[in-house]
């Protein structure tokens, strides 16, 4: 079977009912796509199928035939978004991050906070409490922060990096305008 993977044509001999998730990770060597729950709940396995986010743990690879598949390795043109996840605390352990980035990359530019939340409701994160993620999306669009940034003082003791963080954050925010 053939499909386009991150802009390049691929041809594979695979059993049709294998999960797209497994074929991407095991046959294509693209391990950026994660398995969280294997039940469609968490969105860690999100890829874009012809531009639309889907859970690759629920897709038989045969249904990808003739489509354009985009994984986190192939996400292009969203540097600001990726950068904001770094500077705004959008990622902690990182297992949910590829899925969030792909889902967020498809949100309309003018989406309100409510629309951003709706658009990302199929992605779960156990670390950030979501505030950092919504803030990352907002900052990447050059908009106001969706949620107040955590007070550096409160975190300074726990993580030494916290002291330098606010500066990095505002620099990134300025760049993205």
């Amino acid at each position: 079977m053939r499909f386009t993977l991150n802009g390049k044509p691929v041809e594979l001999k695979v059993a049709p009912m294998r999960r797209l998730l497994d074929v991407l990770r095991e046959d294509c060597g693209l391990t950026g796509t994660k398995e969280g729950c294997g039940e469609g709940e968490c969105g860690a396995c999100t890829v874009l199928l012809d531009g639309a986010p889907v859970n690759s743990c629920l897709v038989p690879v045969a249904q990808a035939e003739g489509t354009k598949v985009t994984t986190i390795e192939g996400l292009r043109g969203h540097t600001k978004l990726q950068q904001a996840f770094v500077t705004e605390g959008g990622a902690q352990c990182g297992i949910c991050t590829p899925g969030f980035l792909l889902a967020a990359s498809t949100l309309p530019r003018a989406a309100s906070l409510e629309a951003v939340k709706q658009g990302l409701a199929g992605n779960l994160c156990r670390c950030t409490g979501y505030a950092g993620i919504y803030r990352s999306v907002a900052v990447a669009r050059g908009g106001a922060r969706a949620a107040p940034k955590p007070k550096p003082a409160a975190r300074a003791k726990a993580t030494p990096r916290a002291k330098t963080k606010p500066k990095a954050r505002s620099a990134a925010a300025r760049r993205s305008r």
Binding site: A15, P16, M17, R18, R19, D22, G38, E39, G40, E41, G43, T46, L49, A52, P53, V54, N55, C57, L58, V59, P60, A62, Q63, A103, T106, Q118, G119, L120, A121, G122, N123, L124
Partner: protein, 283 residues
Amino acid sequence: MKTAFSTLALLRPERPDEALALLRDGPLTPIAGGTDLYVALNAGLCPSRRFVDLSRLKAWRGIAATKDGGLRIGALTTFAQIRDDKRVARALPALCAAAREIGGVQIQNRATVGGNLANASPAADSAPVLLAADAELELASTAGVRRVPLGEFFVAYRHTALRADELIQAVLIPPQPGPSFFRKVGTRAANAISKVVFAGVRAARPRIALGSVGPVPLRAKRAEAALAAGADLESAVDALQQDIAPIDDLRSTAEYRRFVAAGLLRQFWQQTGGRRPAPSRRR
């Protein structure tokens, strides 16, 4: 244990007649968006080994206006398509509202209306809306197409009127006599299976349907009759309690479901009461 996916067979017809012929010679399990089937396969709970993929049947995907002023929605139409469709928003806004709350976008992009109904979960969110809309299904086999009112489709817990050689081809929605209402109560909008799902169409003979309050999605016939006869709202709420038979399960309790169902009936009646229901266009 997870199913061994490499051992499963998949046939991929391009046209409905090919799919129906394959099914006649079955046994085969149809797969549309896979959002229910793959959850079962991932959990090792689907015994089928041979599948037929419906995703290439383009003729069965899409929304069209019918001559009588209603809508025909192909079984393979996704909830993302329904959610964004202007005709659905005009004809039956409650269906758009339901589509918006079926899983997150990843699910909406894949989940089909045919799969939602065929799966016959008592919690299927499109079912109460389509029941309240008096929708009918087109069931196709090599023998032809039969039309079945949705109210006769859900036979018993997870059992439908669909024969093993049949597929749902389309959902037919007649013109609606008044405003529609949808409300789902769960722990969270996306990804949460409903504790109670309620849909209604306001008219001289109001139509009310609920999910997750019995073995199948159901019409609240007694409550409807009470309201049609001009009874006051609280009498209809009492009647509703006889229409439903909720149970305690891991998502909620029977008592809470009865309480919520009552609240939703009041909300439906109050929110749709402002305007006089539009006169039915048929008749």
